[in-house]
Structures are given as C-alpha cells and as structure tokens.
Amino acid sequence: MKLIFDKSMNGRTGFRIPELDVPKENIDKKYLRKELPNLPETYELEVIRHYDELEKLNHSVDKGFYPLGSCTMKYNPVLNEEIANWENFKFIHPYQEEETVQGNLQIMYELQNYLGELTGMDAVTLQPAAGAHGELTGMLIIKKYLETNGFKNKTKVIVPDSAHGTNPASAKMAGFEIVEVKSNINGTVDIEELKKIMTEDIAAIMLTNPNTLGIFEKDILEISKIAKSNNTLLYYDGANLNAIMGKVRPGDMGFDVVHLNLHKTLSTPHGMGGPGSGTVGVKEFLKDYLPKPIVEKSKEDKYFINYNIKHSIGRVRSFYGNFLVYLKAYIYILSMGSDGLKRASELAVLNANYMKKKMSEYMNMSHEGICKHEFVIDGSFLKEYGVKTLDIAKRLMDFDIHPPTVYFPLIVKEAMMIEPTETESKERLDIVIENFKTIVEEAKTNPDIIKKAPHNTKISRLNELKANKELNIKY
C-alpha cells in the first residue's frame, strides 16, 4: 500500500490554526531550520482513508479469534475506552494541585488496594509502564532489600528455561547474573535440580505460575519453602494471572513480589504493542522499597502523593505511570467484581481444556493432562509431511484466525501456544477446532497449500532476510 509520504502534495494541509493573535517576537535565524522536516502534506479526508485502509490490514480481537498464548488477547470492553476518554480523566496535568485531582488519586488508591487483594500482596505501585518494566522494578526492589539487609553476596537469579525472555533480560538490567533451571518432563520446575543450584548467592527465583506451558507448578509450596530457607525471594511474573483470579493468590503461594500485565488479565487493550501497565505488588516487608511516589490517604480522607518512601529504589518513570491505562483496568475490575473475575478465570481454563481435549484427537500436545488457561502443541509430528509450525500458523490466516504464539516456550519443539481466553464462545471454539483439523488433514494430503500460505492476505510471506540485510527503515 502507498505510504502517506507518497500521497503528499505541496501546499496541502489537514489543519488550520487560528491566526497568531500576539505580536511576533524577534528570533535569531541561526536557531531556525533551513529545511523543514519532510512530513507529509495532505488533507483530512486523505488521512482518514489512509488509516482506514491500514486498519483493514490488521487482524485484531474485534475482528476475530486471536489465541496468542501468553499474551491473553481477551475482549477489550468499549465501556473502558469511553470512560478513559472523559475530559476529567484525559485532560489532567500531572502537576495539578492535589485538591484538583482527588478523583484520580482516589482511583489510584483503590486500584492499588484491589490489585493487592487480587494478588495477595500488601502494597502496590502503579508506576511501571509495561510487564518488563514491572519485572525490572521488582528485581530492583529485591536487590535493594537484600543489600540493605546484609545479603550483598546474593548476586544471582534463577529463571526457568520455560520463562519469557523479558525475565532474564530484566534481572540482568537490575544487575543480577542469570542461572537457568531446566524443566522436567512434566513441564514444571525440577525440584531436585532446583535444590542443587540453590546456593547461598541466589537472590531470587522468577516464576510464572501457571507457567508458559499452561501448567500449574503444583510443587509451588515446596519451592517456596526451599527459597525461604535460603533467604531467596520469590518473584511472580503475573502475565498468567488470567487462570487463577479468585482461585489462588501468588501471595498465598509464597511469592514476595508480583508484577501484573494489566494489558492482559485486566483487559486493557494491547494497542499494537502498548501502552501497557506493569503494576508491581510486594509483601509488607518490601513496602519501603517501592519506587516513589505512591498514593496514600490522609486521616482526613484526602488522597495525596507520597514521595517520602524510606528505602525507595527511586523513580522508574516520570510522573505516576500510565494513568489512562490503569483507569481501564479499574473499570474492568469494578464491572466484573470479585465474582466476575473468578468466573472469567474459570471459563478461561474451561475453554483451554476443551480445546486441548478436542484437538488432542488429531494433534500432539507438549504435555498431557489438565492445563490452565493455555496449552502448547508440539508441532514436530508434522515433520514427516514436511510441514512446520510456522506453516500451520500462516495457513490459519486464511481462516481469519490469528496464529497462536509460535516457537515459544523455547523448550518445546515446533511449539504452538494456544490461549483462547474466556471471551470466546463454545460455537466459536468448535469452528476453530474444525479449522485446525482441516489444516492437519491438508498437511497430510496437500502440504503445498500450507507451505505457500497465506493465500487470502494482501501480502504473502515476507523476506525477512532481505529486511535485515538491506535495512530500509524510513521513507
């Protein structure tokens, strides 16, 4: 499709600014650009049509099934969007006097409490801007706590081989060395192996539970015991909370620090890859290490922003986090309520198990038995037909299904990770299950159609090698 720059015509503009109503001030020419930036010159209708066409080239949750495992592409209520667009939320300056933002501060305060309750944590910061940012914040809290309390020797963090790539990257940014722990044949952390690598210098273990295979770490209480006896903290990657809301809480399982991707479990939209919100909750003993500031309530029931946190790790971003994002999570929590959140988790798990069961009739699963909100297909059984997981992914597009997450987690060969979420109906699941079945049949009888897929999209398979070699990154 034509770029907006190709649609540019000198002399057009999409916006008329009122005439300058004040006298002009002199300005030294040396400050001014000689050539204007090459921004497109177009007009309103052209811009509308341009983006309308582009929108059609995207798959989205609103358009169709989007079973992207680990990313929790649940429906994003339009109600949340409408309210987040109200002027009294959207057009608030961060440096307004506290008396003029009591509504926002109350929402932040209550949200901190709700998220604490949901995760079993005692204090929450809303500041981090995304999941990985929350991980970094959490690991910095752990680091500062250990250093302040005489555990300077603790320099390493254990991360399972099934973990999301952000986990090791974040721990590294916080100044830790990474120790990988291998998963056992059940797909969970190998306790014996864990015991072996639990040396004195281990600061923390980062876990996702249920893990990225969709399997609940059923030995979690034992893992927590092992960690506690070594003064090692437990970190919870909350990307997968959608499986367990109202059923069990990370805090009760022994976790000390949790981050939540509000753009997953709590339904704030992913927006093509952000903005997200990666709020972090901690147990009481870590409260004084949270990033500053935090919202508190005075004895007179006034909400205020507290910058005075004793051992704070400092600031992790400017102002107070992605307010307009977590406002949407707040609205979602209130609409669903404690009853609805629990129901959402139960149905997410029901949907995943239903699909897994039906699909295991014709596909190989990475692991048997019940799963939580997602499950992983081991696509290597298709090898004998010369078909790869990536080919299946591409063929799914022809059925208006967004491909599941592929080649993650890294420990499953030809992995394909499916997360239907609770907002898909049984009818939809049945259709998708049939579509998958058709594709597996095709793999056996007519593999070419799969290897050349997708056929119905505007663009077919792209040459990534060329893109990386020739680096064309701007007009």
């Binding site: 680091k143 090791p168 102002f319």
Partner: protein, 445 residues
Amino acid sequence: MYPYLPHTDEDINKMLKTIGVNAIDDLYSDVPELLNRDLNIPNSISEINLKRSLREKASLNDNIRDFGCFRGGGIYNHYIPSIVYQIGAKRGFLTAYTPYQAEVSQGTLQIMYEFQTMISELTGLEVSNSSMYDGATSVAEAILMAGRINKKYKTLIANTIHPEYIEVCETYLKPQEFNLEKINYDKKTGKINITDLKNKINDEISSVVIGYPNFYGIIEDIEEIREIIPKNILLIVVSNPIMLGAFQSPGKLGADIVVGEGQPLGNAPGFGGPGFGFFSSKKEFIRNMPGRIIGKTIDDNGKEGFVMILQTREQHIRREKATSNICSNHAHNALLAAVYMSIMGRTGIKEIAMQNYHKSHYLYNKLIKTEKFEPVFEGTFFNEFALKSKISIDKINKKLHEQKYFGPLNLEKITGEKNIALFCATELNTKEEIDFICSFLEGII
C-alpha cells in the same frame, strides 16, 4: 450473566463432559486451596451504576480544557485535532498486538515505519525505533546504549534536564555501575556551563546529556557543545518534538542520539501517562539500539511490505544478552503522534512551533511588565520560562484557580528552588487570556 462472558450453563455442561470432568473445580485439582473466601473486591455492577460512580469521581477533578493552563514542566497542553482521537479509537489498532505475524499486521507495521520516518525527520538522525515508555526511560536507555557502544561507564548529564528524568536515570544506571555526574548551568544564560563541562570531561566519559530545550525552556548551543567534547564521547540530546518543527534539528548540529517525550505530538496529558518516548540515533549504532524497529522488504510475489527487523537484539531471542528488556512499547501513542504529524504536515507543525515561541514570549514580556516577576535567565527559550516571583507562587496559583486558570509550576516542589515559577504558553493560550491573567496578577499583593 456477565456481558463479556458468553457461556450458558448448557455450554459449560457439554464442555465439562467433553473434557471428562464433573465440575470446573476439577480443573483446579493441582492448585493448593489457599484462598477459601471471596476476594475483598466489590461484587460486579451494571454499566449504568458503574458510570454513575465514575462520573462522581471524575467530578472531583478539574481539567485543563475547562481551565486555562499555563503549566508545562514535561507535559504540555497542545491542541489535538479531532481526527487524532477518531483514528486512535479504531478497534483494528486498539485491539491488535505486537506485529509478530507480519502478513496480518501490515497496518501496524506500515504505521510504525511511517512513524519512524517522521521522528527521524524531526530529529535529523537516520534511524528511529517505534517508541519507548516515556521521555525519562528513553534517556536512561540512551545512556546505556552509549555505554554499549564505547564500553565506558560514566555519563555527564546537564542538571537542567527534567529532575524526574535524572532520578529515573539514577535508578536505571545504578545496577549497571554506571556513574552519573551532573554538569552545572550558567546562572546568567540558563545554558550548560561550558567551563564546568570542559573540566569534567575525561577519558572515562561515555556520553554527555543535554536538553534542547532544557527543563527551563532554554535552547542550548548544540554545535558549540559538540565541538568541545571529543568524537568518541556520544552526545545525547533530550528534545521537545514540537520545537523541532521549526528549530534546527539536533542531528544536523552533531547529536549522536536524540530522545524525548512524545506527548506533545497529539497525545493527551492523561495525568502524565501514557505518552511515549521517541528514540533516534545515527545509523552506525542501530545494532545497539533498544526497542522494536520496523523495516521494509518484499513478499514472495515481489510486493512491498514491512516486518520487524534486527530481532536478534531483543529479549525474546537474546534473553539476558538483549540490548534492553523493553518488549511492549507505546505503539498506540506513537500512532496518535503519526496521525497528528500527518494532519499537521510540515507547514502546520512549523506554524505550531512558531506560535508557541511567540505566545510564550508575549506572556514573558507582559509578566515582566507587571513588576511582580523578574527574569531568571537571558538565554533564548521555547514555550516555557522561569521567573523569580515577588509573591508566593502558591498564592498566585490559588487566586488563578479561582479564575479558572492553572498558573505556573512552583519549582520549589520539583527542584527545590524557592520563588521560581515556570510558566508555559502554547498555541492554546489566547492573547485575551494572557492579557487577563497578567492584569489580574498585577493587582495581586
């Protein structure tokens, strides 16, 4: 029933039967029973009641659309054309994720490619990524990137960078054992103190960070500073993208990395978030850049299309060896900026920049005439400026609030400086309201 959940009792029963269990709880048999109560969160409520309750909360806020606004300090009150919201609300953008599958994400990918181009045009540098969390984290990541490039771990940062940005840099750099040292400013001009900079430069310095404009609105002489610092030290410039519509681009003046807060480009203040961080550099540094980058290529039929490139820098492949942990960025905010820049065009954004310059100077001159304020700096400024106030700034703001205005930022709360007010004017401040607040302030004692 819940509006977002489709399952009927009949569906549930059929599904449980297929799975071969009796109840949903059987799917949780591997989970320890630790939470034997309901969550202490209110029960679900209807859309009607929810809106009532949120309206009540919203009414406890005052917004800068109903009130005139003379406050900046990192987040600015610019006009957002209606089209920006309308396009931003398109669900095909809002409810899509990271373009992991290029064939069904060409919309996202092309927008990001166009966005990268526009940011590069403004900054005058060859490569841009598709957004960062915010201005502050962009600066921190730029410093880390410089360290990866020249393998040195000491940075000089102007103490006229936004104080919250400096705090964020300190948080990010400490675990990397990266030293941050501040460069003083010249008390007369408000620009960086060149002698102090010269004295602090040595072989260990990885990068120098300056503002353009700085926190006090003052425009630095990038060329002069570039000449002073040796070639192998990287110059990082923190900029305001609106200013770059008319003023010289930092890249052309010798910056190696240009970053900043993108909120002024079509994004609402939102109580400070979300906006987005922009990030550009010279092409030779691209492999050390954090974040997602989109590139153009062709498909099997020779048709042009876009993909994510250089993913081997990123955490999902490189894990702990990645250039950064950033995964989700602020793509949707970058989209709003791209729409804003498309609609403004090169002449529109220039006009906005010039009006911000002229309006803020008009405000400045008028305020000085009230004799309630004295200049602090002589340097040329863009859209905001610091003044020494003879009256309590809190009092001024209280009085102005009664007149439905948000007055200047009291810097005591931000930098600790007493009686210094940071005023800001944009294209949204009319002559009428500037005249009004100035004559109003004249009458205050």
